[in-house]
Amino acid sequence: MTALPGRFNDGRTAASRQVTVTPGTNGLDIRGEDGLMVAFWKTADLRADGELPDGAGVRLRCAADPDARLSLAQAEFIRPLLPKPPRFPWLKLAGTFAGALGVLAALWLGIPAGARALAIMVPSAWEKGWGDTLADELERRWGTCRQPAGDAALQLLAARLGAGIAPDLHLNRLVVVRRTENNALALPGGSVLVFSGLLAQAESSDELAGVLAHEFTHLRLRHPTVAMIRAAGIGMAVMLVTGDASGLAASGAAMAMAGAYSRDDESAADAGAVTLLTQAGIGTQGLAAFFRRLDDGPPGLTGWLSTHPDSRARAQAVETQGGERQAPAATRPALEPEQWAAIKGICGQ
């Protein structure tokens, strides 16, 4: 077989020498320009160290002398002698893929439980501090509605609803803010903001009572704090896996996960609201009517991304649960007409 020109490095110094390489049946016979043997690399010991990019040749190693290198520009005669290059690691790839799914599943199940456990450990003074900071900011931005008669009626309704869960409720702020949306907000540390839009659209005091019962249940279960910790946990987990805090896909996934957890919270708060309303002797019809009026369009693809379950399903669930507990005849309205009127007019319209 023909002798091929090559370059040899002995792996002890960085010197490079010109050699001729003769491939034989047992291995490569490597000789210097003077014809003296430099090394003999057995075929079994040969390692393909890598094709140099874009056809620049091939570099060989030898198991018996791991630091030495042999580079050949013309590798056609050598390639058949070499062990097959490692195949693309599909198995490893499938492994990482499965591992990634496993990590994701563990996080999916572990994050809500962990957040609940952590929320219990948060000092209530901290919780109140965050809630107050947030609520002060929102009140400043949106503006509040305050009138003595309306406030008194609100407190009255809150006391009637909260009687059953007073030790766990810690309600320390119940304020109407100027927002046109039909909504209300529970914040960590016992703050509830009722939007003026909700008061304007509500047709009876029972609807307001239903919404307050829902928000109070959020507070009793410490949902706002749990949600904050959960969001931090999701962010941390996504960062753990992707190593990137600013990834678009990562934050999208985090939002979808947060939405799914929050839908569970909403269902729990609906169920708790039914209990509160029943204990207070207020009908659940108001809450059901409120959900029926919430028009959030046809349920569809966006369902699993939204933070709240489908309103019609919620109304139905409330009616079913409420109907089992109490006959409508046994209830009385949440507020007297003049108290309701005071709350309705709290923003001065």
Binding site: P5, R7, N9, D10, G11, R12, T13, A14, A15, S16, Q18, D49, G50, L52, P53, D54, A56, G57, R59, D67, A68, R69, S71, A73, Q74, P89, K92, L93, T96, F97, G99, A100, L104, V122, A125, W126, K128, G129, W130, T133, A232, M236, M239, L240, V241, T242, G243, D244, G247
Partner: protein, 367 residues
Amino acid sequence: MPEHLSPTRHGARHGERPFAHVAGTGSMLRLALLNFLLNVLTLSLWRFWAKTRVRRLLWSGTAAWGDHAEYTGRGGELFLGFVVVMVSVFMPILVALTAAQMAVEAGNPWGNAFVLLIQAVAVFLAFAGLYRARRYQLSRTLWRGIRAGQDGEAWRYGLMVLGCGLVNVLSLGWTWPWTEMTLARYRLGNTRFGDERFVCTARARGLYRRFAVMWGVAALVLCLPLVTVLGLYLSGDGILESAEPALLFIIGLLLAGGVVLVLALPYAWYRAAVLRQLVAATRFAGTTFHLDARTAPLLRLGLGNWLIGVLSLGILRPWAALREFRFVCANLSADCEPDWSSVRQSAAAAPRLGEGLAAVFDGAGEF
């Protein structure tokens, strides 16, 4: 026989260019796209192996005095390094930072001090991590079967960077050339190939004319928009409050792009001088080097790479890295060939795990 595999010629002429890069753009683009696909499939966990493959192509495409460099790092090392740092360093810091921020929200007076302290620790770790990443990369860099390496202490480098940052803030940036050269001297002076150290005596002298121009332009360019916005805000017309947020966003984006474009020219002018001076003051085994870094090609390289990164959302960054390797190989020359037979394999230990700190805190070694 291709030119780069031609026999070694001892005593090469002054100004000889012994470096060449042979990897084609096509190979790199194919690799980058494949890596992107696999990253999507594995929720980005492939990135450690992706980085390794890109480096292997970059290194093995680099030829010096006729022989190609070699990258022997493994994706698994990077992955393990990342996991170790994530669990033992990053998680505790993140928990501490979250607790500190909660304390701030809750009105605790010590909260802000804690946040600052933790941020300083994070910056320190990021730069110490960069140094460790360099140590890892060099220990996996071989040429003619001889391993490169890096001595020096990562924690010392991290503290140096913190100190330099502080000095730069206090001097409004005017110590930057000096701090830059000081850090570079530490990095390069501790770089080894085999048992032979590089020697770096680079100084900031001679850089200040270009730096002053860059500083002036930067001050102007950065101050004008700030003053405008501040003026609009203080004039109380409510222009900023009433404007469409989307419009403000687009204007902000255009402004940021404009700042980059205007600053790019003086920056490239300054950077060309820094690179030339740094390379000229670096010796290896008696050989001195020269980098023919000119402003216009440097500007093309920088802006082009910036565009590649931005327009491909980072997917084609390996291509940008390839362009950098090509630039250096095409413009670096040596006054003579070192006596390679006196450069021996080093027995110094190499790190076992890869660049975890840098991967976590900085995303270093993007390619």
